[in-house]
């Protein structure tokens, strides 16, 4: 046992440290220097307020009593966060846009700013969370007693911790009332506490791991740690339903618990933090849960069999003489308890002041220079003190009996009643206030009578009767369905059923539908916010804002928008803005009522409502259509760009072609002109004259040929050249071409050799095909470059009739290969002085027209091979 004085000093010192951290952070934040609060790690650590003393002490206890079931409380949130992208960004976005202050405010805002919804949620939260706070205070006093023994009885630690927490939350949680400022001091303290409790638990876990090999203490429950661990890691028989329900409840708790909603949604600084927390927070839970196993195993082997498993975390180091670790455990438990108490009491106080008290205050004439603000803040302080006072009284009254120990799960089941309305609210447009009120109300009543009251031993007759009526005989008894499974399933089923059915059966008001749109479409709505069509005199709005928020804030609101305070009407967007600002002090529901009183504009009729919704939907449809159109435009632009590029290429080619045509025509024309001039200059002898005339004639012929070629190519390109496809023998065409060219080849000293076998039937225009082969042979002969043979080969390859013409020339230079089949490519060639170079272009066009193609198969110093290929018997269209 430790001295009570020491423990009190350390505990008091720790609480003082919390005050210092919160104070310094508040000062830094006021000076704009608390950048570290903007980190996703701080956000994650603040989420870890989920781990209360119920985790710190209770997880080991649950593991010892019920086996592996204890992990569900931490796996549930992990599973929920695996699907974080489905709901968390939307919750955060909506909460920011609507200036939401609590989960009650969120639900009320969603369901048409309904005050009954807000009040109902607030009462459910108070009923669930106050006993939960009591549990934390009880944990502090029990752990203190365990540490110092009977000496601790006199010091009512729970009371003093409660008092310290009232001061702490009032100091750092109720300083300001402003939508733009959260509570930096509190966030920093919570993050710090999360580090402390984790470090403490892991340190004791490590200590337990070191203890394990030492073997069992005499009188322990288990003789060796293997068996202890097997017991801790065992699945409870018939525990399937409980396993499922616990997982579901803890998954819901991660946003439905008021304190979790507070840190995860209201205090969120950036949507990007959510993505980091989606894995970092489960990792935190994972480590905490992992740390529980060795402590449980070591407690079962290293402590006497009767030891209280809920206090293993403390008694283990104590029994093994490590006072420092025992104190660390106490501080860890204290940090877990205080962090929960701080955030939960603040969240409850905000709900109580905004939804229960402020609406009553709002009607009074305001005299204070800060409007209602100071009254609201005062209400919050009173609420904090009341909630903690109630918690303390609970803890005294129950005095550590089993009733309080089960309150954690009962609280989870209580706040899980928010889940249908919360999740339905951001996905289901038709959900309305009547459905939400009915579901929440009925679910809460069932929860009250099946879970909360029986846990205090009150009204147990009702739950017994319900079990008797609803369950089969065999399951209705005490050892039948687990009470938690029964209560949670029944209350949630009733809740969900009424929520859905009543929403479908009734029609909400206009504002229900408007808010539904704002919530459901939060992530993909562009353009101006749809607002109720109202207008109010600016002066009236200013008076209202002044009365609720005080002149300073009211002035700031008007100045932000650059509006003067005059008789001018304010537009509906500004009315909505003022309403949200006021809502931050008095809740969405009463802000709406207050603004409705001064907004004398257009009365809201069914017609207006329909127009409003249609406008919203039209705007969305228009945005979507715009999106589609811009994609289409982009596609068209790309097509135009490529068409333009193709046209530019064509234009270049055309210019090129023209310049080449003129160049090609210039040569023969120059010759003709000069010889004609010679003839004109004077008498020449007959031989000279005849030679000149022969030259003129041959050059003119060349010109004609050139023009014929150009015309032919033009027709082919335009697809206007006449083609007469008929069944032909390709071998015969090749033979005829060779025979026609034999004379020309002989004159050039080249021998033509035909390699052909059986007839190759095809469907083509024989004359055109012959034109191609003749052109290829003529080129081959011209460029045979000293070799004495040109081979023409006819073959069938891959189902194509192929005529191949091979020469032994020097090959085609790389520079002109890419342009080989374009017009006048040949004239690039140094060796081609005579050819007009249209031959290959024409040939390729012909082959294309015949349904085949013409390719350069091979070229190099050993020679060049062209291949003309034709489909064999397919009918050729056109």
């Amino acid at each position: 046992m430790l001295g009570a004085g020491h423990v009190l000093t350390v505990g008091g010192g720790y609480l003082a440290l919390l005050f210092i951290i919160a104070f310094l952070t508040d000062r830094l934040a006021a000076a704009g220097r608390a950048r570290f609060l903007m980190s996703p790690v701080v956000y994650t650590l603040s989420l870890a307020v989920y781990c209360t003393s119920w985790t710190f002490y209770g997880a080991v206890g649950t593991a010892v009593r019920s086996g592996l079931e204890f992990v569900t409380i931490y796996i549930g949130p992990t599973l929920a966060l695996m699907a974080w992208w489905l709901f968390l960004p939307k919750l955060v976005r909506v909460a920011k846009a609507q200036r939401v202050t609590s989960i009650a405010d969120f639900l009320s805002a969603r369901y048409g700013k309904s005050r009954p919804v807000a009040v109902l949620v607030t009462f459910i939260a108070i009923a669930s969370i106050t006993p939960y706070i009591a549990l934390q205070l009880l944990a502090v006093s029990l752990s203190f007693t365990a540490l110092v023994g009977e000496a601790g009885d006199g010091a009512d630690t729970a009371f003093w911790v409660a008092v310290a927490m009232v001061f702490f939350v009032c100091m750092f949680g109720t300083r300001r009332l402003n939508a733009d400022e959260s509570q930096p001091g509190i966030v920093a303290a919570i993050a710090f506490e999360s580090i402390v409790k984790m470090a403490a638990l892991l340190a004791i876990s490590l200590f337990a791991v070191l203890l394990l090999p030492r073997g069992a203490t005499p009188g322990a429950a288990f003789e060796d740690w293997h068996r202890a661990l097997a017991a801790v890691g065992s699945m409870r028989p018939d525990g399937e339903m409980r396993w499922l329900v616990l997982n579901a409840l803890s998954a819901a708790a991660i946003v439905c618990l008021p304190r979790q909603f507070q840190v995860a949604v209201v205090e969120n600084r950036s949507e990007s933090h959510v993505a980091v927390a989606s894995w970092l927070f489960p990792l935190y839970l994972f480590l905490m849960t992992l740390g529980v196993l060795p402590i449980a195993a070591a407690g079962l082997t290293g402590l006497p069999a009767g030891a209280e498993p809920d206090l293993f975390v403390l008694s283990l180091p104590l029994a093994h003489g490590s006072d420092v670790l025992a104190i660390a455990a106490f501080i860890g438990g204290l940090s877990a308890a205080t962090s929960m108490v701080i955030v939960a009491s603040l969240a409850l106080a905000v709900m109580i002041s905004n939804h229960l008290v402020a609406p009553e205050l709002a009607d009074r004439p305001g005299r204070s220079p800060t409007g209602l603000t100071s009254a609201v803040l005062f209400t919050r302080r009173v609420a904090i003190a009341t909630v903690l006072g109630l918690g303390y009284l609970y803890s005294r009254a129950s005095g550590g009996d089993a009733g309080l120990a089960s309150i954690g799960l009962i609280a989870f089941a209580g706040v899980a009643q928010f889940a249908p309305a919360l999740i339905g609210g951001i996905f289901w447009r038709n959900a309305n206030r009547f459905g939400a009120t009915a579901g929440l109300g009925a679910g809460a009543v069932v929860w009250l009578f099946t879970l909360l009251l029986p846990s205090f031993g009150v009204a147990t007759g009702i739950v017994a009767m319900l079990r008797h009526v609803l369950l089969p005989e065999a399951l209705a008894g005490a050892d039948g369905v687990d009470p938690l499974v029964f209560g949670a399933s029944l209350s949630l089923a009733v809740n969900l059923f009424l929520y859905a059915v009543v929403s479908l059966a009734t029609k909400g008001e206009v504002i229900d539908e408007l808010q539904a749109t704002l919530f459901v479409d939060a992530l993909h709505r562009g353009g101006p916010e749809p607002t109720l069509r109202r207008s109010a005199q600016r002066r009236d709005l200013y008076r209202l804002a002044q009365r609720i928020l005080g002149p300073v804030r009211a002035h700031a609101i008007f100045q932000e928008k650059g509006f003067a305070v005059d008789e001018q009407p304010a537009d509906s967007a500004f009315v909505a803005h003022v309403e949200r600002e006021i809502g931050y002090a008095v809740g969405a529901a009463s802000a709406h009522t207050l603004v409705a009183r001064v907004a004398t504009g257009e009365p809201l009729s069914v017609d207006a409502a329909i127009t409003l919704l249609r406008e919203t939907q039209d705007a969305m449809a228009a945005a979507r259509a715009l999106g589609v159109r811009s994609v289409e435009l982009e596609r068209t632009a790309a097509e135009l760009r490529s068409a333009n590029a193709a046209l530019t290429d064509l234009l270049t080619e055309k210019d090129d072609f023209l310049s080449r045509v003129s160049h090609e025509m210039r040569t023969p024309l120059t010759a003709i002109r000069s010889f004609a001039e010679l003839l004109a200059e004077g008498p020449h002898d007959a031989v000279r004259q005849a030679r000149f005339i022969a030259i003129i004639s041959s050059e003119a012929e060349r010109l004609t040929r050139l023009l014929d070629d150009i015309l032919d190519l033009g027709r082919l390109e335009a697809g206007m050249a006449p083609m007469h496809p008929e069944p032909i023998d390709v071998t015969a065409v090749a033979r005829a071409s060779v025979m026609a060219m034999e004379g020309f080849a002989e004159r050039s000293g080249v021998r033509l050799r035909l390699e052909a076998g059986a007839p190759v039937p095809a469907h083509a225009d024989a004359d055109r095909l012959k034109q191609v082969v003749v052109n290829l042979i003529s080129n081959a002969v011209k460029f045979s470059g000293g070799a004495d043979e040109v081979v023409v080969e006819v073959a069938v390859e891959e189902g194509l009739a192929t005529i191949r013409v091979r020469d032994g020339g020097r090959g085609i230079s790389e520079a002109i290969r890419p342009r080989l089949f374009t017009k006048f490519a040949g004239s690039f060639d140094q060796d081609n002085r005579n050819g007009a170079g249209l031959g290959l272009a024409i040939s390729r066009q012909i082959m294309a027209g015949l349904g085949g193609d013409l390719v350069l198969e091979d070229t190099g110093p050993q020679g060049t091979t062209f291949a003309a290929r034709l489909p064999r018997d397919a009918a050729i269209a056109a």
Binding site: L79, M82, W84, M235, A275, F286
Partner: protein
Amino acid sequence: MNAEEPGEPTPPASRARSDGRTLLAIAGPVLFTPPAMALADRDFSVSGVPAVVVYVFLAWFVGILLTRWLARSRREGR
């Protein structure tokens, strides 16, 4: 051109990622259903730790790693 979300054409990579997120959101709960737990509840242990405990913590940790990986690639994708 069907199925393309108008206005926000999703590049194929991020579509694969969003498929991954959906799969994870479904697979996670399935891995912790009572039947899956019953399957893992075998009569052997890994250096003293019961099989079902190893299963729970392993599946949990892998789930965390996958969530991190998908959350990360999502941010980089933006």
